[in-house]
Symmetry: D2
Subunit: 373 residues, 4 copies
């Protein structure tokens, strides 16, 4: 079986998630190329060393460029802040590495396109961290849409709302530095836009209200000095899908109380689906035309009948968690590399998602509908 040498840049939230996933991928997916855990890099060499030990990687470095030069490394995961993605990705691509990059690709469409074209030209495999759509129940949802089990699709209502920025006295952070690109519409919005595209295909047109609600924040918790907030806190978007149906999408990081309200209600002429990541092992399904006495929404619970749940657990009802979704993501990425196929969502799809983000921002400024170019 072929092996693939793995490197991870970054040791934060996502660096750890990638490490968990690479460690578990082969156990879940026996037929993928064997991930050989080679190196972890972090600007703080001590953190990198600690992480390499903890996550079982052979080596560590304080300089991500060591990874680029290393012939034993075939795949690089980029989990650093957005503004750093491009240089790292371009260097990795130039060296012929396959690249996994956390979303969004970069702060601007132009830079992202540069990344897409570099990867396509060099012919490396890419993946971007839209982990939530790796859920077996979302694969089921997409299959149902594609098989026509819901009839013609007539509406989509998608939301990704959390509350980590809800407190107006919460301090200014890197997360809202405009050099990193837009606010919530890129951070959470890209997940729900990606989910909408995964399920229903292309979004053709948008009309959006993208706004900053908390106009300024203290420079530190409790500080008197405040700094203006220049990025958006909430984005509400009317959408037209290329397939003809309409919908709404909301991204919101001031949704007090919500920790992971990422979900949708998807309606078709013959049925509908309701999902929320708050209960990621459940999918509600309504099928029209059944006995009215006993029909209603059926709560589908994830089980081994929903591939690849069974790769993790042979019995239903045991529940997958977030890290398992990340393992599916990495498993599929490594599998695609092994087969020389595209898994996805790759850089191109991430770029398409970002185009919707940008169109929404443009629409909000222009206060009318904008076509997604």
């Amino acid at each position: 079986m072929k092996e693939l040498g793995i490197g991870i840049i970054g040791t934060g939230f996502m660096g750890k998630a990638h490490a968990f996933a690479y460690r578990a991928a082969l156990a879940a997916f026996p037929d993928i190329p064997v991930p050989r855990l080679e190196m972890i890099a972090d600007v703080d060499a001590a953190s990198a060393a600690k992480a390499a030990h903890q996550y079982g990687f052979a080596r560590s470095s304080g300089n991500w460029k060591d990874m680029i030069a290393d012939p034993k490394i075939d795949v690089i995961s980029i989990t650093t802040p957005n503004t750093l993605h491009k240089d790292m990705a371009l260097a990795a691509i130039a060296a012929g590495k396959h690249v996994h990059c956390e979303k969004p690709l970069s702060p601007s469409l132009g830079e992202s396109l540069e990344m897409v074209e570099a990867a396509e030209k060099r012919g490396v495999n890419t993946q971007v961290g839209f982990n939530y759509i790796k859920n077996p129940l979302l694969k089921l949802a997409r299959e149902m849409v594609e098989a026509g089990e819901l009839g013609e699709i007539t509406g989509f209502r998608g939301i990704h709302a959390e509350d980590y920025m809800h407190d107006p006295e919460g301090p200014w952070t890197w997360r809202i530095d405009p050099s990193g690109g837009p606010g919530v519409i890129a951070d959470l919005g890209s997940h729900i836009i990606g989910m909408a595209r995964f399920l229903l295909g292309e979004i053709a047109e948008v009309s959006a209200d993208v706004r900053t609600v908390v106009k300024s924040r203290p420079v530190a918790r409790g500080a008197a000095e405040r700094k203006d907030v220049l990025v958006d806190d909430v984005a509400r978007i009317l959408v037209n899908f290329g397939r003809g149906c309409g919908g709404t999408i909301e991204a919101n990081w001031i949704a007090t109380g919500r920790k992971m309200q990422l979900g949708f209600e998807l309606t078709g002429a013959k049925g509908s689906l309701v999902f929320t990541q708050e209960r990621l092992n459940e999918l509600l399904f309504y099928k029209a035309g059944q006995d009215p006495r006993t029909s209603g929404y059926t709560k589908i619970e994830a089980g081994p009948q929903h591939y690849p749940y069974g790769q993790f657990c042979v019995a239903g009802g045991h529940e997958l968690g977030f890290n398992d979704l990340k393992t599916i993501e990495m498993g599929e990425f490594l599998s695609a590399i092994g087969k020389g196929q595209t898994s996805g969502p790759g850089f191109r799809e991430a770029y398409e998602i970002q185009k919707v983000v940008e169109a929404a921002i443009d629409s909000s400024k222009a206060r009318n509908w904008v076509k997604v170019a």
Copy 2:
């Protein structure tokens, strides 16, 4: 105690609901003027007679004008199709009757304004059937907003979705005859717009997508001949409230599977509320700043601590139903008449709601934001 003679025009779904409510109102609200059940009218005199017997009204008539002329009748409920409301209401007002009218007031803004002005000029009391906001838990929600318990309000997501028109082969009906005015945006949309206004006040501006999804319907179930549908099936609206916050509102009568998805998520800097009429005795409340170890959404169950629940049942957990909400509506209306006060929502408020409906339709045509005049 003063008495009020009651007349109802119409014996269908809403006629019956009004009858139930007038019959129960005094039992629930001992201090209101005593409703004396005088007459039921219906274009079909036999139906009227049957209804009068069944609902305990003293007399019946096949001609609603008999009611207008009757000095023993003080209050008239209009539950007929929309197109008939205006003439009935104007006649009743001219005769000095207090008028309850089912929503929407009329098919067009101009006619509705005529009704508003007639009522205000004549000084009669009016009420319009926005029954869902009579829920004790919605009174609580409004109180919490007004008392600042949720902090500054930062978002509203409102929906009224049902599925009675979801089947593309469902036949053309009076409900979609354009002479009755717009489609779902008036039928269901007015409820959720009214609820939004009840909770958060004026809607200043809208940007909407109001569309017909099922373009034609068979003239009868199974018929080959089809007739074009000229009214909307779904309306998706971006809104700006006068108070400054944004939100979305959706009205949808092709939402396969939904029987009564009327609800909202209302977010403030210090807390949030979630409600759906599908579980009308529950209100979810999140309060920020609590012990993170044990905080989360609290499911408030309706009980006697939420006035006027206790007028129906002295113990919590027993649950109010739709007809109880209608009883609250009538109780409040009769109480307001007795005190010479305004209860509401009256004709003026119904007109304000209709203005939002019209602005949304205009916006959808113009494809940009429209101010609610």
Copy 3:
């Protein structure tokens, strides 16, 4: 159409519920004998007079015996404390009145049997206030059991838990005066035992733990003086149904947080049902043998397809409330009287339920299984 003169004894919680129900019964059920609201009696004549006015009864009295002697009264509802039921019922029966009595019939099996036999001998119609089983969804549940849609029944887990006695410092009240009979096992337990019998038939045998948890209570809120509690706070019962399957039943009035946890999980070889009165318009149904990809528990929402929901509202999703269940109860009672049939549960069934209660108490004392005689 025949008329029936109605009298109600008692003006408290249940007196009011009966009044609401008699007022609404004909509106919901057009074919029943017309209830003529004749008299309300209460030991406090002023309360009786006030109630008669408020609930629309023709007359009132401070002496319930006035009702017995009154030839215009055909039906008497007894809503007074348990200890008073027997004398009232026996007098009413002797006078040939049909009798509705709130549960439990009396504090002791012997007295209850006396009531049963008197009614049967005199040939009057009786009903006892087991209102929760009047829910259209419980009718559906029973039909499904009887039609074999769940296969052979293999288990029942029934609960009626509330928390009105949960506070150990809550004062001693009439509710726990042992002269009124047992504690929670009679008060709430009779509801869930009745529901179990309604669904699955006879309970043959029980093994129970019936216990007092709060051993003493202050004589008044905050008082230093305490009085021993002699009745049970919790009853946990293993049951064997006559049909062969086993189950458990719990009655609990110290279930902190629960306002109306009355429900069950009923399992059969081919399907199962889950119900809780906390969401009385919903019934969960699992049907075995369906496509595993999309199967799961289906949430059935009450609608007009579930008789007699449609008598109250022609559209699904609007929800019945507690008072509607009481109206169904009274409608069925009056209908049965009109047809000279038995509706139920009548005195005999209430007595059978009480036998289960007594067997459980005996079992708890003997610490072994006891047959329900």
Copy 4:
């Protein structure tokens, strides 16, 4: 940092779960001894070899005794059928290995006691696979009980119901071979009994109904020949905890529709908790004495404030899955070994749980209460 060489016997459902967990343990818990993945054994050497490759273990064997003799192995996980546990465990203990064994320890109390005593005598660390109590929210629940946040505990209702044996035509399997010990009461019952003990301590006394519902099964799917079933399908148990409160426990593997109904409702004088493994990242908490207007059950969602959730993910709402619970289990086991402390539940606790199982079976035969010796 100390290392511990790990061996796993068995490559089925639990063998894989252990492998996932050992692979992830250090990434989640940086301070534990480093697990060195040494060997996987299976009676089928090819399976063992494949598993070793897939799960990243250095070596494999077709003979578990190879592990016993191997000085590089410090910890052995036994995931084979129950009947094999004892010999394996005794051999491992004799060789001074620390032992993790899946539950139940053995088919009989006597054999289990032998295992307990051997481990205690030899001084090795033991753990038994009661994984569900490793949930951070169950740690919270236990802390709340112990801190008195729920007041005096007044009741417990525990259930573990699944449906893998619900079909009466499902064939006879090893799972119901009586040589493996009791049926559901050992298989699922031990989980909920263990959870009850984890939360509330010792169970002093039981009165149970333990029964076989499906009396015979075909020897193979569709076969005409049937074989008698000698083990239990459902166990319903009244319990008395040593602390004084009562409760019920049910174990059921014919609960049609249930995939993982493992949970409880735990009631105290000042609050209550509700949990089900079907939604393992949620815990419902009711706190008495709050503002009645806004109080109710609060849904606590697992987050980093609930240790050790944060070891897996720094943000709330992302959800742990079953394999994460298993990782916690292994992390705690290795940590305990490193510190020379007891983690638990170890063999002794598993034996105590089995004593409750046996007492329940005895009680069911004797049809009365039985003290847990």
